[in-house]
Amino acid sequence: MAAAPALEAPETVDASGRRWFYRHPVVIRLAHWINAVVLLVLLMSGLQIFNAHPALYWGAVSTFDDPALAITSEQGRDGTNRGVVTIGSHSFDTTGVLGLSREGGTAVDRAFPSWATLPADQDLTTGRRWHFLFAWFLVINGAVYLLYGLFSGQLRRRLIPDGDQIRDFGGSVKEHLLLRFPEGEEAKRYNVIQKLTYFVVVLGLLPAMVLAGLAMSPGVDAAWHWLPDLFGGRQSARTIHFIAAGLLVLFVVVHVVLVLVSGLANNMRGMLTGWFSLGRPEKETAR
């Protein structure tokens, strides 16, 4: 229990004896919700852009005959069209969702279905405009978050596991798998898996996303010849951008599930008002 707190945060006990902890400062809360909206717009407009050429390649250029991944539609033996995802030499029938989906009652050839793209219609120009405007919001919001986090100590507190957490890594994994969530003093800090996950997402995936996106820009590539090379070429950067988007979606799904099972009301209150309940002390001493 001797978690040396990285920084002091306000705490209070209400009339009913419940302990409250000011978990999320306002800058973090704002950055979190802006990020949520921005990432959703970027994902859906990104799928719109992907639909314009629904194939991925490795290297500097497109090897049109041999894509790493392709989402297409083709005519089956019975004459009806079906949606097909091809990864390397493997093909999967994805009719209804990928490659071929229903739009207004008719089947249309499009890689990602209209409910997943922004705009809903096939419209590359508007998709690009949404994407590039919100990419700026992502970068600015991310910069504010990182600078604030760095100077306030929040980033270290949130992302870097404490010494005792690393020593008890196995125990923490077990607690997590059993969906047992700490209360009291221990709930003031993220557990080691949370910290490492946020570390990878905040300092790994999101910056990689931005850099891989920039590596697709002929203008930025002219200024920084090294940038596409960092990913193994422009088409590799596009593929990595796509994979990183998939990993972010995976992260968000797990994140939302864990928010639900670890106490939706308390978590939401924490991210909306800052105040997070640590439970009642008698419960804590009983542990």
């Binding site: 194939a55 949404w130 002929p218 002219a222």
Partner: protein, 316 residues
């Protein structure tokens, strides 16, 4: 359709954010929405220009990396009668015109152009759709031509007039009501219209329908038998500013991979402006016009695709 889409969205995502995204499409369709979304383009132009100098070059690749097949797209075989006549004689009668805000307008044949100092570069071509090809381009640096013509001080943009007609502006004259039919309410509408027209086998129209000089790239090539159709053809065009026009890699290319440029890739001349996306690399360039403003060309966007919503600055 809209109702159904909204229903699909609501059911499909089941998120609070869904209501927001349904609103996104309506927002993007308004004038305010379009202007707001354009802020990203302005920011990209500003920041990318900070990262570059006028002479910053795009990466050049070793010959071994040249793509075996350079994917042609957009127009691959212009239907225009004048162009077909030129192509039939292997562009022997072709003349590139350089005019507008210049001291000395130029008219140069392919042989003239090949006689000028040239540049060869192996560069990556990035399509707005997402794919890339590497090709070797040889041609005349645009700066070479602009220096010979001599720019007037008001000149700010180079406009590239191309031979290929993509659609017709209703029945009206350029700038009239007919043209505004194609102003995008929804970008989707325009693209549908383009496809229908392209499929209509109604080619053969030429610039005879209008005496607007903006459209008259064909210097002195009289229309053999003027078609009864008086509609104004909308041809491909593009524009760049002087920052890109004087870049050493900005060339009018006559060769691709060491051979004369095929028609599918833009013969006789294709603009290469290597720090931008594929749709800026205008094919079938007939005339370069130096201008002070892009207003008055097409719908004022600075290019065929720009008039249909794409960014004028295609550096990303």
């Amino acid at each position: 359709m809209t109702l159904h889409r909204r229903k699909l969205l609501t059911v499909g995502a089941g998120l609070a954010g869904t209501a927001l995204l349904g609103g996104c499409d309506r927002f993007a369709g308004t004038e305010t929405g379009r202007r707001t979304l354009k802020v990203g383009e302005d920011a990209n132009l500003y920041v990318q220009r900070l990262l570059m100098s006028p002479t910053t070059l795009a990466r050049e690749f070793p010959a071994a990396m040249i793509s075996p097949w350079f994917k042609p797209n957009g127009t691959i075989d212009p239907p225009d009668r004048e162009f077909r006549a030129l192509a039939a004689k292997k562009f022997a009668d072709f003349k590139l015109t350089i005019d507008g805000l210049v001291q000395t307008p130029l008219s140069l044949s392919l042989a003239d152009l090949r006689g000028l100092p040239g540049r060869t570069q192996v560069t990556r071509h990035d399509c707005v759709e997402g794919w890339s090809c590497i090709g070797q381009w040889s041609g005349v640096p645009l700066a070479e031509l602009l220096n010979r013509a001599g720019l007037k001080p008001q000149a700010r943009y180079a406009v590239f007039h191309c031979a290929d007609t993509l659609e017709y502006a209703g029945g009206g004259l350029e700038g009239g009501d007919g043209a505004s039919l194609w102003r995008p309410e929804h970008p989707g509408h325009v693209r549908d219209g383009t496809i229908q027209l392209a499929a209509a086998e109604d080619w053969g129209g030429a610039s005879t329908a209008t005496d607007a000089p903006k459209d008259d790239w064909g210097q002195g090539a009289p229309e053999p038998d003027a078609p009864e159709d008086k509609r104004t053809p909308i041809r491909y065009y593009e524009s760049i500013d002087l920052f890109d026009a004087f870049n050493p890699q900005t060339i009018l290319a006559y060769d691709l991979n060491g051979k004369p440029l095929p028609v599918s890739n833009g013969a006789p001349l294709r603009l290469r402006v290597e720090r931008q996306l594929g749709y800026k690399q205008a094919k079938y360039v007939m005339r370069v016009e130096l201008v002070e403003s892009l207003a008055g060309f097409g719908q004022g966007g600075g290019g065929y695709w720009e008039d249909r919503g794409y960014e004028w600055y295609a550096g990303i």
